[in-house]
Structure formats: C-alpha cells, structure tokens
Amino acid sequence: MKNIITIFKKELKDIMRDKRTLTVMLLIPLVLYPAIFVGISKYMSGQSEKAQSETVRLGIITNGNADHFAQFIANMPNTRVSDVADTTLAKEMILNDSIDVVYFFPAGYDSALAKLEPTQFNYFFTSTNNEFEVGIIENINKVYKESLVKEKLKDKQIPETILEPATPVSRNLASSREQIGSIIGGILPYFFIIFCMIGCMYPAIDLAAGEKERGSLETLLVSSASRLEIYVGKLLTVTLSGFTSAVASIVGIIISAKIIGSDPSQAAGMAQILDLLNGIMEPGSIIQMLLVLLPLNIFFAAVTLMLSIYARTFKEAQSMITPLMIFIVFPTIFGMLPGVRLDYGTALVPILNVSLGTKEIISGTAQTGPLLLTYAALFIYAAIALILSVRFFNNEKNILRG
C-alpha cells in the first residue's frame, strides 16, 4: 500500500507539471468552454437584436387597386414602403439590391376579393435575402391573409370563432426540472463522458507508453515495488485525472450558465437552466452521478492504460487510443436522440447507459430498476477492463514490447 501511495503521489506530481495534461484536464473545460458558450450566447443575443431592428424595403405595384393592402402594409412594423411603376423596374431594383421585395397586384384584384372569387397576388424577391428579411416577408403574408379572412367574416356577420370553434389548452404536468432536463439533460453527459475519456487519455499515454519510450519504466520495474503496485499507482492517477476533467466540464457548464444568466437580456431564459443545474448539485443527484462517473472512469482508465502499455511509443499509443473516441461519441450522441430511453436493454450498453442514465438523473425521471442495472453493468464492465488491464500489465511480452 505504501508503494502504491508513493507511486500515485509521484505520478500525480508528474502529470500536474505536464502542460498538455493540465490544458486538457482543466484549462479547456474551465476556461475555453465557458468562453465559447458565452461567446455563442452573446452572438445569438446580438443577432436577435439585429432581427428586431431589421427593416424590409418593400415596393408595391397596385395597378389602381389593392388599397386594402396599401393600408395594411403602412401599419406593419419593420417595413419601408414605396410605389414601383412596373414589374420590369421591380425586377431590376431587386437584382441591383435597391429594394428587398415587390408586391404586384393584378388589375381586378379588389373586385375579385369583393366577389370572393379566387385571386392571387405575386411578390418578387431573391432567395439571397437574409433570413431576417425572409421572416418579415412571411409574417406579412400570414398577417395579411388573416386580416382578409377576418374582414370577410365581419362583412358576412359570421363570428371569428368559426375559425377555431374549440381551443386546445395543454397543461404540462412535468416539473420545470423534467422539462428542461429532457432538453439539455443529454448535453451534460456528452460533455463529461468526452472529458472523462480525454482526461484519462493523455496521462495514460504518458505514464505507460511515454515511460516505456523514455526508458524509465524499466528502472521502475527494477525497484522493490511489485508490478501490481506500479499498475495500481498509475491507474489511480489516470482515474483521478479523468474524474477531475469530467467534474471540471460540469463546473465549466455551470460557470457558463451563471455568466450568461447575469446578462439581463438572457436572465429569463437562463433562470430555468440555472435552477436545473442547482438541482443537480443536490446530495442525492451528486451521489447518483458519482456512482456513474466512478466506474466509467475506472473503465476508461483501464482501457487506455492497457492500450498504452501495449504501444511501443507515445505516438503509437496516441494512434491506438484516439480512434476509441468514435466508439464513445457515437453512443453518447445516440443517447441524446428523442425517444431513446433508459430501460433494461439500453442499461446494458456501455456509454449509452451512462448517457441515458445521467440524462434521467438530471431530469429526475430515472426509474430505479434500469438505473440499478446501469450501475451494476458499469461496475462489471469496469471490473472486466481492470482484470484484463492488470493481466496485460503483468505480461512481460507487452510491457517490454519495443
């Protein structure tokens, strides 16, 4: 035990002095991620403000009628209206970007409307209009159509309620945590599963393949420490690194939410998410999450150490471990898809069970049976990976492969 602690303390000191490990383990989740999230939030907020102030330059060709539209459009916000002589000029103006859209009403449009005969109006635009302008145009069309219908109903003395005789009113009985959790609950496990793996990856490569390449592993094997002690010391270090990285990613997300929430324009939207994140910080949720994180970390640490000890060099270990990310990202993303739930089947699929389990823990909707099966499956997979990894480490063929 004394040797394990000695090795663990030394390995920890060693990786804490490695800039690359520190960057991956702490700097990216705690600084870079919040910076990205806050940056995206600021950008979206700016875009939203831009959308509100966006004005569409709108032209009308009335052909002596369409007074109703002219009156209607004059009261629409975000528009600047002008008359256009004919369609040839309209097309030219749109193509040289001196106007955004031109509405063209044929002769007899008003009389057709009055007789309730089918009619149409055209509008010219280019598909290169930005999305804010397109949104405004679509809104004009929708509101204009509604206003025509309402007017006609009024003329015929038919109540507007005929359009919607009964209004469906939904009452969502899910708690706020369940509602928000089902939306963003899948994102949190994505981050900490990925960071868990990345946090294990670099120390595992450095402490096994790296040591082998530098020749220091051989001298360590000649010390009085047994191979098992050496292995456990390294495994504890890699596990702690992965765990720290995963926790840092969650802290990073909370920091992001707090920063975004402190912005008055974003506060309303972020309030529920902050409530949800605070909910995760309850002791019950923390214990449940740790029960998922611990075996997941041991599993990742054992697998990465196993591959790393087999590799001849640091580079070879990197090329062997990096493709593993695909096997981690795919089930993690699959767990974010709607309709995929934690049940007795998915609870047995590694990584997917972590993704779904965590999502349901966050939402507060986890069912005891599948969740317990998830814990059991994770501990069994971690134990299998551990046994294989120890055997691998004890095999002189692997440890001296070079």
């Binding site: 030394k10 220091s216 000649v222």
Partner: protein, 260 residues
C-alpha cells in the same frame, strides 16, 4: 552473489516479427538465451561480452526480475528471482545507457522517489542522498528539473538513483552506450568503486576496451549460447589472435560454424 543455473529464454513471435525474420526463423518462437550458467562473486567484475542481439540484455533482465526465465533458475544474494522477486530487487541496482529519468522531476524528487520505493526511511534517504550528491557533484542542480540537463548530468542522477539503496548487487547493461567520453568515464569509475566496496558487479558490453579495463571474470555470449565462461586473465593468456577483438571474432565464427 549471483548464481545463474542453466537458464533459457524463449519469446513467442508475432506475425509481423516472423515476417521480418523471413527465412531465418520459420517457427513461432525464438530462443534468445540457451542453457546459460555462470556465477558472479562479490568484489569482482563479471563481464558479459557479446555483439548486439546476442542475449546480453535478456540475461541481465532475467537477473533483474524484469523477465522470467523459461527454464532454469537465478539466485541473487540467496533469493530466487521468480519466487522472491521483491527481495532480489531490494538488494539490486540496475543501470543502463539510457538514463530513464523523469523529465518533470528534480534530482532530489527522483532520488527520494526511488529511495521510498526501495523501502528506505526518510532519514536514511536523506543521509544517503547527501553522500551520493556530494560524491557525484549533483548539489548545484539538485532542485532543477531533469528535462533540460546535459547527458552527463542525467547520467550522474541515474547513477545516484541506482545506488540510493546501496545495493549489494549492481547490474550494468551497456552502461556507456550513447554517452560521451566524460560521462562514460564516470560509469567506469563507478564500476571500479563498486568492486572496491565488495559488491557483486555484472556488466554487459560489446566494447573490448571496457573489457580490458574492468573484467575479472568473462563470459562471451553469442546467438544465445554461452561460448566462454572463465577468468579474464586465463582467456587473455590463451588467446590465439593478437588482439581481443580478433580473438572474439575467431570464437564467434567458430561458434557460428558449429551451429550451422
């Protein structure tokens, strides 16, 4: 004292290794060391001479418990290397040409680490470390990280790490390979000092001048077979060729013809 009794070491070959060996070896295994026996006595330098790939490192790794012999046994200071590996390692120091240090640790931290791993208490580590640092001139860079050291500085730290627990048996595996003249000289001096301190010393080399300088007992290993084992003085007096190099080549060629 090291007693090596009839040891052999067989490695299984991967597909890639078999492909690389081509016609030389069509089997799935290769025997790196074959029925090797010798004894190393305290206060003497036992030299294992052989070309690259002869089986020197495999033999030394078996003595140091890194590898297990496929057959035969090795006893170091009364402890069997397979059954009592930990006891063997406690009394053994191992030094190679590759310094094998941790770039992000200082010499102080490195030596403390290996002292603790070898079961020493803090007071003894401190005393022994002071002695070695004074002797090797490490004090001026004892608290700087190893990563930026010259090869010579690294080799000094490597020697201190090997000797921190004052091992009775010291294994040197081509300790001067890749070192400059000054660093190599410090290793030669260390081997001489170990002999004066009545330690059991085994060192492997393919450099004849080092054999001339240091050997008391000589074993020549070639293609996994021990082809000479005896006093170096006897070997030298019975030489048929003028130089050690020529004599070594003659014996190696004879052996090659005998196994062909």
């Amino acid at each position: 004292m090291i007693e090596v009794k009839d040891i052999s070491k067989t490695f299984s070959l991967s597909k890639q290794q078999r492909k690389e060996l081509g016609k030389e070896n069509s089997g799935s295994t290769v025997q790196a060391v074959r029925n090797v026996s010798f004894n190393c006595e305290p206060g003497r330098v036992f030299t294992l001479l052989g070309p690259n790939g002869a089986g020197k490192t495999t033999t030394l790794r078996m003595i140091a418990t890194i590898l297990k012999p496929s057959t035969g046994s090795i006893v170091v200071n009364g402890f069997d290397t397979v059954a009592q590996g930990e006891q063997v390692r406690r009394s053994l120091g191992f030094l190679t040409g590759s310094t094998g240090l941790y770039d992000r640790l200082t010499p102080n931290e490195t030596i403390d680490y290996f002292g603790r791993l070898n079961g020493m208490d803090e007071k003894t580590i401190k005393e022994r470390k002071k002695y070695l640092f004074d002797l090797l001139g490490i004090n001026s860079f004892a608290d700087r990280r190893v990563g930026k050291f010259s090869t010579g500085m690294k080799q000094k730290v490597s020697i201190a790490r090997t000797m921190i627990h004052d091992p009775q048996v010291v294994v040197f595996d081509e300790p001067t390979s890749g070192l400059d003249v000054i660093a190599a000289k410090s290793i030669i001096e260390l081997i001489r000092q170990c002999k004066r301190d009545n330690k059991t010393v085994i060192f492997s080399t393919h450099i004849m001048s080092e054999v001339n300088m240091l050997a008391d007992d000589l074993a020549i290993i070639h293609k996994g077979d021990l082809i000479y084992n005896g006093l170096f003085e006897t070997f030298r007096s019975n030489m048929r060729e003028q130089t050690l190099e020529d004599e070594f080549i003659r014996i190696a060629v004879e052996h090659e013809q005998s196994i062909a």
